[in-house]
Symmetry: C3
Subunit: 467 residues, 3 copies
């Protein structure tokens, strides 16, 4: 349906259609996401079964099925301790299709439907009756050469795609992509959470890995900082333009050198308290901003997700099982120490993301509408949805304008869903701007320049992919 999702008001729909048409074929800028670089390192990479591709790795899907009493084993998810699980992927697919009504009016439901239609050319509705036919149609296509990730990269018209990589990652896959001579622009993103969160599981192992990768001693705070700087240098040499940081809150603080050293040593000794961990994390956000001020990497900050909220699930299945739950966020006070140091810098960028929509109009838009440092990331996670995006634009544009936004990023590990996700964003923006246009807030020239900025330019510029 060509006009899908647009307002049914005739004037607005016509304007939305025209605006959308002007950007729908622009290349995709994918500056933040979680696609595995192995997809591109191996020119013959195959996705496996439809369930391997679409169900087992997608916690958006299985969290909803789980909420309605379907076990993870029945969906093929392995428990850490092993044990029985359904291995018949056709059976899993049927179970998903029988319960697909759960996804009515959800972005997950819309993405999969649009992905089947646009990427797989399957227009059957997901339900019990069509389950086998859809399974077969997907499966057949996944076998074909057209579904190798590099081929899809070209078909999807991707211009650049950033992965997210641990600070201790050797970037061997990225090196392999480069060595292959293939022309796609796949770049890493530096994510140091696991070596910054001194209270995280396995922090000391991660420090060991940091030692190995950096080939230097990491014995005190100063050498730790040097090692991090070295890793950033390596990521940058491999094409990275950005870093990514996740934290429960936006708390920042500037520790003195001796305080930082003392906490670091206590962490190495396994003795740091929760409070020290929080202070160290806040300090390291400022320190990472300091590094960005020197090496030019764009900094991303994702705030407000209580990871692994369900201890039973975590114990039995591990991380990222759909049990991350948002909490209330605060930026005005928490981010002040960082902003006091870097807020007025025009030559660096910090992009803010969070899961508490109340911050949009109250804190984020006023902050971004003042501080040169700041840009606002697109609505994240649960809010990467039609209504979520609409509320975001409603809440922030009047105060921050659109030129303090960072455009769109798909933030997905579901590679074949990327075009669909960008398409929804482009449609939302077209419809929203059409509403502004037909009511007389903006004119045609404004609307056309704004849709292009939102669909393409802002992401490219903000993440320095135009360099």
């Amino acid at each position: 349906m060509q006009d899908r999702y647009f307002s049914t008001d005739p004037a607005q729909r016509a304007a939305a259609r025209e605006l959308y048409a002007s950007v729908k074929d622009l290349p995709l800028i994918c500056p933040h996401g979680h696609v595995d670089p192995r997809l591109f390192a191996d020119s013959d990479y195959q996705f496996g079964s439809p369930v391997d591709l679409l169900i087992i790795p997608d916690h958006y899907i299985f969290r909803m099925l789980y909420s309605q009493g379907i076990s993870l084993e029945a969906l093929g998810i392995p428990a850490l301790a092993g044990g029985s699980r359904t291995r018949d992927h056709r059976k899993i697919w049927r179970l998903v299709c029988e319960n697909w009504h759960l996804f009515r009016a959800t972005p997950t439901g819309i993405w999969l439907r649009d992905e089947l239609a646009d990427v797989f050319d399957i227009s059957l509705k997901l339900n019990r009756e069509n389950a086998d036919a859809i399974y077969d149609a997907i499966d057949e296509q996944l076998q074909g050469d057209a579904f190798r990730p590099r081929r899809l990269y070209e078909r999807f018209n991707i211009e650049a795609l950033a992965t997210t990589d641990a600070a201790t990652d050797g970037l061997a896959q990225h090196q392999a992509i480069r060595d292959s001579g293939w022309g796609g622009r796949i770049i890493p993103t530096f994510r140091p959470d696991a070596i910054v969160n001194i209270d995280g599981d396995g922090w000391r192992e991660n420090i060991n890995r940091l030692r190995e990768e950096s080939g230097a001693a990491v014995v005190d705070y100063a050498s730790y900082i040097r090692a991090l700087e070295g890793r950033r240098e390596h990521f940058k040499a491999m094409g990275a333009t950005a870093t990514d940081h996740a934290a429960l809150t936006a708390y920042t603080e500037c520790l003195s050198a001796s305080e930082a050293e003392a906490i670091f040593q206590r962490a190495l000794a396994g003795q740091a308290t929760d409070k020290e961990a929080a202070r160290f994390r806040g300090h390291m956000l400022v320190e990472m901003a300091r590094m960005s001020s020197e090496d030019g990497l764009v900094m991303q900050l994702h705030i407000g997700s209580w990871r692994d909220h369900n201890p039973w699930l975590y114990a039995h299945y591990g991380r990222d099982m759909g049990a991350d739950i948002p909490i209330r966020s605060e930026f005005t006070k928490n981010l002040k120490p960082l902003l006091d140091r870097f807020g007025n810098r025009r030559d660096m960028t910090l992009i803010l993301f969070n899961l508490d929509e109340t911050t949009y109009s109250r804190e984020l838009a006023p902050l971004a509408g003042h501080y040169p440092l700041l840009r606002l990331g697109p609505p994240w996670w649960f809010f990467d949805s039609w209504l979520g995006m609409t509320r975001f634009l409603d809440a922030v544009v009047e105060t921050a304008g659109i030129y303090n936004l960072a455009g769109f990023n798909d933030d997905t590990r579901a590679y074949p869903s990327i075009p669909t996700r960008h398409d929804v964003w482009r449609r939302v923006c077209a419809d929203w701007l059409a509403g502004q246009l037909v009511r007389g807030f903006i004119d045609e020239e404004d609307a056309h320049e704004m849709i292009r900025a939102l669909a393409y330019d802002l992401a490219k510029q903000t993440y320095r992919l135009d360099k």
Copy 2:
């Protein structure tokens, strides 16, 4: 007006009309409310005057009049200490009608107008000129046999109606309904707040009542718990399928047996602190969930109302005088101890309600979209309104779907307003789904199944009224 409240977009309006038509005659499921069971125990129950029925018991109405400087005495509300008040109900009615403009664009205004039209067949506008005519028309009908509550139950096409009853209630009225042989399904709901809130007025008297009703000693924490379990058993035998719990916050905690005992003993001695009362309340929520896991009663939790915020009003007129004011709510952290124990249970249900809309998209929908235990109650109190319901659907459905919702409940003590309240919900859902349909998010089959679920099935299933 047949299409009242629907969007004026022709496509959406037509779709809304059709969806609404498919559910408007379905029976009413009323799984949570505050209708007095005496209405049904006495087959000849009479409502009194129009003011007795519509004004004096309705704090939605008199709070607004009070906010504009009209005294409660002028509205016939008795002060605790007695004293003069208007006893001429026609005069009170005139005063209300003269000030009815205050209710323009409010749900209270809409309910009363629709109730007059649909239940009393009165289409006059409420104002000074029409006051007497309306009074007379209502009054005449209230005298007639058609307005006995049991007759209305049938006319309203109610399938089941749950009252809310103190844990210490002997349920004599419910027994009388059963004994009468009348076929209506009126069931109690177990509400133990008054014996759980150890800092509440009259807690020790309530414990005495608990002793009397349960016919057992309540001398320590263990006997207290046994007495509560016994009361639940009795409620269940009388048809109850659910419990209801109100608290200022969603704080939960698991006390050790000795901590619980110590606090309970201090409470019996009148020595428990505020902090201990809060901890005990949080502990008892977990304990009530434990009982639900055993006896199968569905648990409801209403969070975030600061009861009796106005001390002068409370001192002079008592409870429930329209001065309950919401506070900010939090679930992700507060509910975790309870969820850690019961969140993964598929065979029990906890329904969450609250008055802080920011929790909808940030916490409630993500929680309900993951934990099998949870369902979301409909928008409560001030948000039982056209825009309140629309914002609720906008905020939760994309993340939780509709199948993690508990459908509608009218939560009212105003018995004759029940059809109107359900009608507004059914219209909101029809209009909201019509918007989804005409924009292409869902198709006709989806829309029809969803409207039926929202209007009828979800409430019936969630509250186990299909058993």
Copy 3:
């Protein structure tokens, strides 16, 4: 464009047009703002250049340009320490016009466009090409007699305009306006923040000024209170009908006389702590309400702006440089001590404003829908915008009705923008009520009375300008 900003739904647009037409020519009530009274004291007051009028004093404009890396010096803003800045106003104007795309879809952009069209009769779009032509056209008109502030007062059809004045202000400009015999109603508003905030810069100097203006010793808490009462008396004699108070939070508290005295003495000695300052501020809010209960001045409370959030900017350019950032607000608990004392008063009024939209439906509307004391101010600052106003009406009217609102105030220092700001409010209200009308929530009579109340009556009555 006659129908600008209205919904494009034909029925709603027609209704909005009619409602708007019924109020667009009503006089403007401006009960709260920051226009300098000198504009009216001097009958020949001239505004200076277009940049003097429109850019240099308007932090709404330069904050956004600053956020995109344009220095304040380039916009002609003087640094405290002096130093170079652009003094060529035509060059500044060009820079602003070249960057005017930043204001697309913002209220600032809309106000300036509408002001140019409606006040200056300039319909050119602000951009690089038109910069000089627009500059010249504004400049020429500013020279003419038609642009003296008193002439504009009449042309704008202002009925009353309140300025905001420090409690220590001698009101000489206001006296000069009175002495001039000119018939405009320009009245002061009593703003005591600088002598209430004992932790503010220069508090003791302000106390000295208070001594001078009040001509009495201010040596202890009692004489301080008497001096404040005396100043209020003077303001009232000069026509004031209201006071204004700003605070980071709505915290209130009733100190004992001895506590108040002790903190006051410590403040005089420069020894008060932050905590004491916060308690004193909370106490003084209650005390100011007590004074209002006696002298009848309407009390306004503006909550939630972290002033001068950017220390570098504050140090270099001073106050009000576009770096005030909102924080989360709370009223239910914070305002209780004040409400416990005065909440039930029908003969006085407290108007609440804040920058945290989450309070609208959760706290403000329920509070205003109960307490006779309270009225809700219009959406403030960043929310004085089309979508901000719409969200406000959506969030509060269902619970508080419109008769607990205080109508509109423009809250601006940009005098020539006043008609535009009122026009946007009147259009928003017309469109919002039209939506309610065509969907059947209200009827024609309701809509016409409501639009008049919102556009004119409520502001006049709430601020006692009908006296």
